[in-house]
Subunit: 448 residues, 2 copies
């Protein structure tokens, strides 16, 4: 009898694992349970669907359920929810179409993802108040905007989703108010990025309410305002994007160990503490390349990569899921903002380093070449050993250069090694000293 | 008495060294001899001046001679040519304004650069036949184009200069013919880049004559054609860009050792075989990060970086000049084409490796996000040890991602380590798997 590989969750990690496993071993039975309708979709693209930059919600689907079934021979079961895992019996319990049944596995992948956090706000149930973490929500937001043409929008939370939805709803004609409890937006990116982004958001007409706590929403059936401590501001639509929490209940009930971040603890192969049970994607931890500690960074590449590696491992070719650097990039109107590793001295000290950092601004192209713009680069290093710990890049063009810093982290480079990296130069693409090299030069000076 | 640091040559390497040395030790006497008028200019910007994208030739000058003298306190002597070096006496002989004098040094930097190769063509002396390797030539070309409005242009050589001048003269209204002796343009970039660039050049109306030897130019006073083996093609202007050769005569006459490439041999600190004599920039070799062997890659960053390091070394802080990877990028109309390290299997075998390579094409952005384009990525690795040896990137956007591969070379990463690099993803900037990661995935598959 062929072995069976079972996946719980049909998005990035689950379908990457299923596809890779089946490709490596066509004899393997591969079964994936997805509790909803949608599989293998680009959640990161949803704000652009709302914005109108992507025509159809279906465009965000990379591979359809039917293609998985017919072309990849994966037994994909949608609207089928795994409600229990029994590691001793090596089986899962499934609710589907009103029936309940058991599905045995030889190897199991938990890829249950994460859910949008719903803060204890009044009025969350009002029409026009949304989180945006799955395709149905994206669809509902788009419908609502089309139907009601909101004049004002309240975005609660200044993270990726908040920034992207500010752009999207602004493009749809709304006056956008963005509420953030902390002193700055984009908290994971550090202050130098945040202040550039904040100025830019304001230039684009977004009204920022920093250090402002929202307590809820008001309205009758439909939302018409957001409630703050001492006032109420009009809002015809509200988006709550205050982060996600990993979906770990199923795993925890089955006795799987959770790590310090609250996500499922895994080793370098994505294995949990229970034999033949793996976890990957937004519900799982991964090892941080700089600290060597477990971390939780719910991003698409991490999920895809870990899923694919696990698909390889379960077919007999043990493959590490790879370390994460927390590399991320976000578009804010005309800006790109990017981060990798440890982005400021405070966080570096918390991780046990003796940090030094710089923030510089430099042109994205040769000074005389047309249409360049300013890039702000932050670099953080450890005084001891002078290793690069992380950094950020923000500007109108060139934010993807963050990958250069990410590669320095993966290579374990010192500041002086980064400074001596032979990066590409021609006037239309960069100054002679790429802004990242300039930042490394200045940081190297501070290390002496 | 203060020590004296003397530089020969007032461009990237020379002025970087002088500036850094003076900054580190204001007591040092710093003297730079430049045989021409222009110092510290961006030769790479000259095609864009001819094109009309840069208004003034002076815009290409980063720092003027007067600023070097008054603000940086550097004794910069223009129109002053060093005609001999006497290492035993530790002095150089200078010709300036009809006078000849000796200048003693404690440390000497040879930064004499390179010169455009002039092939043994007939008619090189005709009006309208140019090389483009210094500011006076750029000025003369611009004048000539403005005055004569050439209808047809002949570009001899399909390297950086040829490609950039094809774009420039096309923008100025000329029908451009590009002549290349080899089967492909951009020889250092390998065939996958060349074929993309060649298609693109043709789309932009450039007539390519590959595997075509030019024997000379015809015309009375002014050029009116280019002579091939069996025919003659009309040309109202001709640019010869067939490469550069290092200016090493002065060094060789003084007994300095040349390396295998014909440029001045140096160690990791830019020192020549003669005590207290350094060499940097287009006239000097540097160590290649992949092969560990001396190489000559006359590019601006290498010159700036080595100059700066030597400026630091001569003030008592020994600083390596850094390895080179031969990283380069060039704009060809709407394309960017980039390379780093060893770009094809043939060259890898010549360097003693057992190579394997892939070439893939992938989207620059998420498939559903507007305005993405195709990127072609080539990666080369060694079967033994599976280390990345180099690669290329070409496409309408994102060619600067070559830096990611360059960083893999500097970090000594294997293909599987590159594949697991945590690079930045968001739909407007990249697919989930950056094209470079996709190339690494495919290459990793070939290594198994």
């Amino acid at each position: 009898m062929a072995n069976t590989f079972v996946g719980i969750g049909g998005d990035a990690a689950g379908m990457s694992a299923a596809s890779k496993a089946k490709r490596e071993n066509p004899e393997l039975d591969v079964v994936v349970f997805e509790k909803g309708e949608w599989v293998s979709y680009a959640a990161c693209g949803m704000p652009y669907y709302v914005k109108g930059a992507v025509d159809e919600l279906d465009d965000l689907v990379t591979i359809s359920p039917d293609e998985f079934r017919s072309e990849r021979d994966i037994d994909l079961r949608t609207n089928a929810e795994v409600v229990a895992i029994d590691p001793d019996a090596a089986e899962v319990t499934v609710d589907a179409d009103g029936d309940t049944y058991e599905q045995p596995y030889d190897d199991l992948l938990i890829a249950t993802g994460a859910s949008a956090i719903e803060p204890p706000f009044d009025g969350l149930e009002l029409d026009g108040v949304f989180t945006i973490h799955d395709m149905d929500e994206a669809d509902a937001i788009e419908d609502y905007v089309t139907q009601h043409e909101p004049e004002t929008a309240a975005i609660v939370g200044g993270g990726y989703v908040g920034i992207e939805m500010a752009e999207a709803l602004s493009a749809r004609g709304a006056d956008v108010h963005l509420y953030e409890m902390l002193p700055h937006v984009l908290q994971p990116f550090g202050e130098p990025v945040a202040s550039v982004v904040e100025d830019h958001l304001r230039e684009h007409g977004v009204e920022l309410h920093l250090e402002t706590a929202v307590s809820g929403f008001r309205g009758d059936d439909r939302v018409n305002g957001v409630t703050l401590e001492n006032e109420s501001v009009a809002a015809d639509i509200a988006i709550v994007g205050v982060g996600v929490s990993p979906n770990v209940e199923l795993a925890a009930e089955a006795g799987l160990e959770l790590g310090p971040t609250g996500a499922i603890a895994t080793d370098e192969y994505g294995r949990t503490n229970v034999e033949n049970v793996y976890a990957a994607g937004d519900c799982a931890e991964a090892r941080h390349v700089v600290t060597g500690d477990p971390d939780r960074v719910p991003l698409a590449l991490t999920a895809n990569r870990a899923g694919r590696a696990i698909g390889q491992t379960v077919t007999g070719d043990p493959t590490p899921v790879g370390d994460i650097a927390g590399t991320a990039i976000v578009k804010a109107f005309d800006l790109g903002a990017a981060r990798t590793g440890i982005v400021d001295e405070e966080r570096a000290r918390e991780a046990g380093f003796d940090p030094v950092s710089v923030s510089i601004s430099a042109a994205s192209r040769a000074h005389y070449y047309p249409d360049g713009s300013e890039l702000t680069v932050t670099l953080v290093a450890d005084r001891e050993g002078e290793r690069v710990l992380g950094g950020t890049v923000v500007g109108r063009e060139g934010a993807k250069r963050i990958d250069t810093i990410a590669m320095a982290l993966h290579g374990g480079l010192t500041v002086s090694e980064l400074q001596n990296a032979d990066l590409a130069y021609a006037p239309p693409f960069s100054p002679v000293w790429d802004p990242i090299l300039t930042a490394a030069k200045v940081l190297d000076g501070k290390l002496e």
